[in-house]
């Protein structure tokens, strides 16, 4: 209710003159992945500030003040998560970076690692200091080979420059008498780079930890949460690549600066990803709360053919029908929840009018079916077996109206019953497609053929 008169309005548009590209500043620039390039542009100054001028608690407080919410999909407040770590008790602590990025429609972390690996290292170093973890684990999905090589080389460079390893930012005693600052031993911190091998479920945080430990990547029961028992059963905090990169700038410029961008419940600057038939697909950095219209039209150049729906944040987020109201929605956590969807990873997929919705959803379902780990019954039987079979039946023109009712019921029953959120990730978009495009399902079962036959989409 309170509007402070002299408080400047928050930045919620990329075209606001006060807005600056931050996370993505070096991406796309040749040679930006080197330490030399990064340091020449102020790189590692934020880490030096955190490690030499701030206590771990102060860093956590700054991140809390920034309002940063985790960028891996769930949007959990990062500072709050860090404060869940148990008191220091002599056990090894871990900071883990989730770079398994495999949610369809998401492709931001890859470019951050390929073109600006030091930004991520710096973010992990700061986070390690904040939670007093001396080992960082960077889990990169197996297919990201360029990113893996870039991170490997950048870690080696950072080690050689004393930015990783023993006594990072150690100082000699300085001055005399009252002015003297004592010597500081610096902070011991190093990063283990680990490659995955092609499994979406490894993005789920506890599955990732199992995978890192050399086990099958089945999710673990929570609680205990990672802060209590994470990597090797030891206290662990896990965040997404973009979350760590954001922390660098929060420390450098202050939580208040970060919080000057965005809406009530979603602060800062974010990487949105745009794919589907639009003129200029790609990753665009925008302040939180920018609208779909700004992303799709002003930056992306608009759809190249009439559109009927958009998926707001990766294929697990329920689609929204294409309309002026939808396009004018701010892309933030609260708004997406209010309209029955989720911001997820911010991976926006535009679905054209000419694309059969049943066929599109069959594709989404096949993805989750393929990626189900098979651990729990609802997901193994429902997601991995039944749903794809039902879609096969529909697309073969053999479905009935009863099948549609059955599918809707199945999807309802799947919700919240599986061991991990993967089953929901499949059920939610299917439910939304029934809610908004049941007519296409009905057309298909009534006529034995889709309302929109397959068209060629491949460029010469």
């Amino acid at each position: 209710m309170s509007t402070v008169a002299d408080k400047p309005a928050a930045i919620t548009s990329r075209f606001d003159p006060r807005y600056e590209i931050t996370l993505y500043r070096h991406v796309g620039v040749d040679g930006a992945h080197t330490l030399e390039h990064y340091r020449a542009r102020g790189g590692y100054r934020a880490a030096e500030k955190a490690l030499t001028e701030m206590t771990p608690t102060q860093v956590i407080d700054e991140v809390k003040a920034s309002g940063l919410r985790g960028r891996g999909g769930a949007g959990f407040p990062a500072g709050l998560k860090w404060s869940f770590m148990p008191p220091i008790d002599g056990r090894q602590r871990f900071i883990v970076c989730n770079a398994d990025e495999s949610e369809p429609g998401s492709f931001k972390d890859r470019y951050l690692m390929e073109d600006d690996p030091h930004q991520l290292i710096e973010g992990m170093l700061i986070a390690g200091w904040a939670i007093q973890a001396t080992i960082g684990v960077l889990y990169v999905r197996g297919e990201y080979y360029v990113a893996y090589e870039r991170m490997r080389d950048a870690i080696a460079e950072a080690r050689a420059a004393g930015l990783l390893g023993r006594g990072v930012f150690a100082t000699e005693p300085d001055g005399e008498g009252d002015e003297a600052t004592p010597a500081s031993p610096g902070f011991d911190f190093d990063i283990i780079l680990h490659r995955g091998a092609g499994a979406y479920i490894c993005g789920e945080e506890t599955a990732l930890m199992n995978s890192f430990e050399g086990l099958r990547a089945n999710p673990r029961l929570k609680p205990p949460f990672p802060a209590q028992a994470g990597v090797y059963g030891l206290p662990t905090t896990i965040n997404n690549v973009e979350s760590f990169c954001s922390v660098v700038h929060i420390v450098e410029r202050g939580g208040a600066w970060y919080a000057s961008m965005g809406t009530d419940d979603s602060k800062g600057t974010k990487l949105y990803q745009l794919s589907g038939p639009v003129a200029r697909p790609g990753v665009y950095e925008m302040p939180m709360g920018a609208t779909f219209r700004e992303l799709i039209y002003d930056l992306g150049g608009g759809p190249t053919e009439p559109a009927k729906a958009l998926i707001p944040g990766g294929s697990s987020t329920p689609l929204l029908p294409w309309s002026d109201e939808t396009l004018d929605l701010p892309m933030d956590y609260g708004t997406m929840a209010r309209v029955g969807s989720m911001l997820g990873t911010g991976g926006v997929i535009v679905i054209p009018e000419s694309q059969c919705m049943v066929d599109a959803m069959a594709n989404v379902v096949r993805f989750y079916a393929h990626e189900s780990c098979g651990k729990c019954t609802p997901c193994r039987e429902g997601v991995a077996t039944w749903l794809p079979k039902m879609y096969q039946k529909l697309l073969a023109g053999l479905g009935t109206r009863d099948d549609l009712t059955l599918m809707e019921e199945m999807v309802r029953n799947l919700r919240g019953t599986a061991f991990c959120p993967l089953a929901d990730a499949c059920a939610m978009p299917v439910a939304a497609s029934f809610q908004h495009f049941r007519n296409e399902y009905e057309h298909l079962v009534d006529h034995g053929a889709p309302k929109y036959p397959t068209v060629s989409r491949w460029a010469e």
């Binding site: 796309g28 542009r41 492709f107 297919e143 091998a197 979406y200 050399g214 745009l274 790609g282 594709n363």
Partner: protein, 217 residues
């Protein structure tokens, strides 16, 4: 009877083996399982039974456990893949950019369907799920390399290279904010003042608007 035996893979690579084992804390030896598998697979294009035994022994787990881990991950192969392992993304964004047609063209070109390797061991074809390159679809991964925005013409060029026995060079596809020419940069000069990067301060974005970027200094 003398059975032919395979020389252990890591026998003549003690430094590499040690380097991999040393990455992990002493209580985490098992974490070396996947990195060791990666080494073998990169060299031999699959992880054979004998290698699996060797890795299991190094790490200190049973062969069944190692096999259980290996079979969980879709990019570890039990049988050798061809010299060119063609992995085509079939997920939604690529589908909307022609991924299905790209797959069919690959089937026609190679005579294989997903999961197969030709008799000569030149090509393997595999449908894979989202490769995290959805803005530049359709995507074809050849061995470790992504080829993005693979048009019909580009595909023909790729095959010309591969049939000549050469690893095709990817064109680095960009989009959105990854287009470096549109980005202004400021460099901190050695004396601490800010100077404009040689590539200009402010270049018009594709839509005619201008992105001013401040240095962090």
């Amino acid at each position: 009877m003398d059975l032919p035996t395979l020389k252990p893979f890591f026998e003549d690579k003690p430094e590499l083996l040690q380097e991999i084992l040393d990455r992990y804390p002493p209580n985490g030896r098992r974490s070396a399982l996947m990195p060791l598998m990666w080494e073998v697979q990169r060299a031999e294009r699959h992880i054979g039974e004998a290698r699996l035994h060797e890795i299991a022994e190094i790490v200190g787990v049973t062969v069944t456990e190692a096999k259980g881990v290996m079979s969980f991950y879709s990019t570890f192969h039990e049988h050798p893949v061809g010299r060119f392992h063609l992995q085509v993304c079939r997920t939604l964004s690529c589908k909307l950019a022609g991924g299905d047609e790209l797959y069919r063209a690959l089937v026609e070109e190679t005579g294989l369907v997903s999961g197969e390797t030709d008799a000569e061991g030149t090509f393997s074809l595999q449908n894979v799920e989202c490769l995290g390159s959805c803005g530049t679809g359709p995507v074809l991964q050849v061995n470790d390399t992504y080829h993005e925005r693979v048009t019909r013409t580009r595909l023909a060029e790729l095959f010309a290279e591969m049939r000549a026995g050469r690893e095709p060079v990817p064109t680095r596809e960009r989009g959105g904010d990854n287009v470096s020419a549109d980005k202004a940069e400021r460099v901190d000069a050695p004396d601490g003042t800010s100077v404009d990067a040689p590539d200009g301060t402010s270049v018009d974005a594709p839509d005619g608007t201008s992105d001013e970027e401040g240095g962090v200094a």
